[in-house]
């Protein structure tokens, strides 16, 4: 069976859950080969082996990590030319989507981003994705070259299938042209200690109705072990960081539970959350369009409702 390349998403060798998901999908298409860029591959190998990576291509070259995506695309192109894979899967993040775009030009291949499902039938790889603020689902396929697909988090439940994860070091010479955009400074953000927004099982978001006070939103989120999101109105007002924005121009999330507090539910916001499994909203305005989407809604003041819910959940847990 042909190889399927899976770009590993990791922090210093700590492999993210999305990589296990991608390896699981890759096994449907062919034999998964992980592509590990960075150092500390030994920390990553057990997890890559557990989810079925037969090989791990290792690119440990500072020229690939100190720049934007151009060197990464060159590295992936080098590996693809060597491996002749049946498909190349990448996580859906802004960074990896751009790498996928550059790779498509280099490999003369079609590219599909933001997949919400990958189906394999008779050797053909069909990709599901959302269109027009998630009001449509499309099924499409790559008809030229090697299918390059970026897959969103949580589209499949990872299943284990032990393999060897044999390391294959790859020498990559990064061209000068690819070093054109250099990262000159990185200021790490303070960690919130909460789950990552796009991967979280539960997301609690606040909007205009918070009037800038996110403390009841954060308190409920922490009680539920949830990530915190924000509407564009809240972000534009400077109440919450842009990296937490849920919506068309922010993050698209698809958690098991989405709680919208003080968010009216404009199309911009719905585009980022309406594929959530269960939706709950709290809003003062009973006419707010968000209520059209909910499984459960409370017409009321979030400053009353959220703390009461938080306390009730806490005492239920302690009881």
């Amino acid at each position: 069976m042909a190889e399927v390349l899976v770009l590993v998403d990791h922090t210093d060798g700590q492999v993210k859950k999305t990589t296990a998901e991608l390896l699981t999908i890759a096994r449907e298409i062919g034999t998964p080969s992980a592509v590990f860029v960075g150092s500390n591959v030994d920390a990553a190998r057990p997890r890559l082996a557990q989810f079925g990576a037969e090989k791990v291509y290792v690119v440990d070259n500072p020229d690939v990590t100190g720049y934007l995506v151009a060197p990464l695309a060159e590295a992936l192109a080098t590996i693809a030319e060597q491996a002749q894979p049946a498909a190349i899967l990448l996580p859906t993040t802004a960074h990896y989507k751009e790498a996928a775009g550059r790779l498509a030009i280099k490999l003369n291949s079609g590219v599909i981003t933001d997949a919400t499902g990958v189906e394999v039938a008779d050797g053909a790889v069909n990709v599901l994705k959302q269109a027009f603020a998630a009001s449509y689902t499309t099924r499409s396929k790559v008809t030229q070259g090697t299918p390059i697909i970026t897959v969103k988090p949580n589209v499949t439940a990872p299943t284990a299938a032990q393999a060897s994860a044999t390391p294959v070091p790859v020498e990559v010479t990064v061209s000068d042209a690819a070093k054109g955009a250099k990262i000159t400074e990185t200021k790490p953000k303070e960690k919130s200690g909460r789950p990552e927004l796009t991967e979280a099982a539960i997301v609690v978001s606040g909007g205009r109705g918070t009037s800038g006070d996110f403390s009841p939103v954060e308190a409920l989120a922490d009680t539920l072990g949830a990530a915190v999101g924000a509407s564009r109105a809240a972000v534009d007002a400077g109440w919450y960081p842009h990296s937490n924005q849920v919506g068309q121009t922010g993050k698209q999330v698809s958690p098991q539970l989405y709680v919208a507090a003080g968010i009216s539910g404009a199309i911009q916001h719905r585009a980022g959350m309406q594929t959530s499994k269960t939706i709950v909203a709290i809003n003062k305005d009973e006419e707010a369009p968000i209520f059209e989407l909910v499984d459960f809604g409370v017409v009321g003041d979030l400053f009353q409702v959220l703390p009461q819910a938080t306390e009730a959940i806490k005492s239920a847990k302690n009881g």
Partner: protein, 259 residues
């Protein structure tokens, strides 16, 4: 400094967007407009040129109506426009779109800076800007929330999930900006009147030297096989808070095993 801004005419996100029979985005049945995300790129270009010198050229690809996107950018203050229009382009994918834009930028004459939005509000793949840079062999400084040009260096700040990064590149370069970058201006009355006299060229595939076999629906490297409307969500229970709204919410979460 000469700047080219790539803009797109898109179906209004507030309207009921759908697909045509050929499974391409329906651009005829709904009102269109300049993609909101491109306004930030136009605004940034205008600010840079106003602070120094040079001119701003906007380029778009699309059917006749797409000229409206160019017009809006000219009304905001851009100097001239290029509209790439050819029946053979209909249904092009991101790969072909990037080819057309790259060829158009070459024909306009290598600018110092190419500015784009973070994505189009219809496709939202967010990959065409880097693909254009890849084709032109230019550095791409993408998704920045602020940028500065000093001499022949462009510096951008990207506000990422885990870190804030400063990114630097030499000109010529491509830069994509987010919706956090600036506050796009509204066209003034004077701007609207002035736009009527600004030059707009319409180029066909032939003008760009691009073969019809490289673009269009039948030559797209990604084919949409089918589309399906998401079934409307059934509205669940909505209660009005009478002092126990939070308790009821907690009960719902507990019943559905979220606690």
């Amino acid at each position: 400094m000469n700047i080219v801004v790539c803009v797109k005419y898109v179906p209004d996100a507030q309207s009921d967007r759908t697909f045509s029979d050929d499974k391409t985005t329906d651009r005829a049945g709904v009102d269109g407009l300049l993609s909101e995300l491109d306004e930030y790129a136009v605004e940034e270009a205008l600010k840079l040129v106003e602070a120094g010198e040079g001119e701003v050229t906007v380029v778009t690809i699309g059917p006749d109506e797409a000229a409206e996107a160019v017009k809006k950018a000219l009304q905001m203050g851009a100097d001239k426009g290029v509209h790439i229009s050819d029946d053979a382009i209909h249904g092009s994918d991101a790969v072909a779109t990037s080819l057309l834009l790259a060829e158009a930028i070459k024909k306009i004459g290598q600018p110092d800076l190419i500015l784009t939005g973070m994505g189009s509000t219809d496709g939202l793949m967010n990959i065409v800007p880097t693909m254009v840079a890849e084709r032109l062999g230019l550095p791409a400084v993408t998704l920045v929330s602020s940028l500065e040009v000093n001499g022949s260096t462009v510096t951008g700040r990207r506000d990422g999930d885990t870190a804030s990064e400063t990114i630097e590149a030499s000109l010529p370069a491509l830069v994509s900006v987010t919706d956090q970058t600036n506050e796009p201006r509204y066209p003034s009355f004077k701007g609207i009147m002035a736009a009527k006299k600004k030059p707009v060229e319409t180029w066909s595939l032939g003008d760009l030297g691009v073969d019809a076999g490289q673009v269009g629906l039948n030559n797209a490297w990604v084919q949409v096989e089918s589309f399906e409307a998401r079934p409307p969500r059934e509205q669940g229970q909505v209660v009005t808070d009478e002092g126990d709204g939070g308790t009821k919410l907690a009960e719902f979460l507990s019943t559905h095993k979220f606690v």
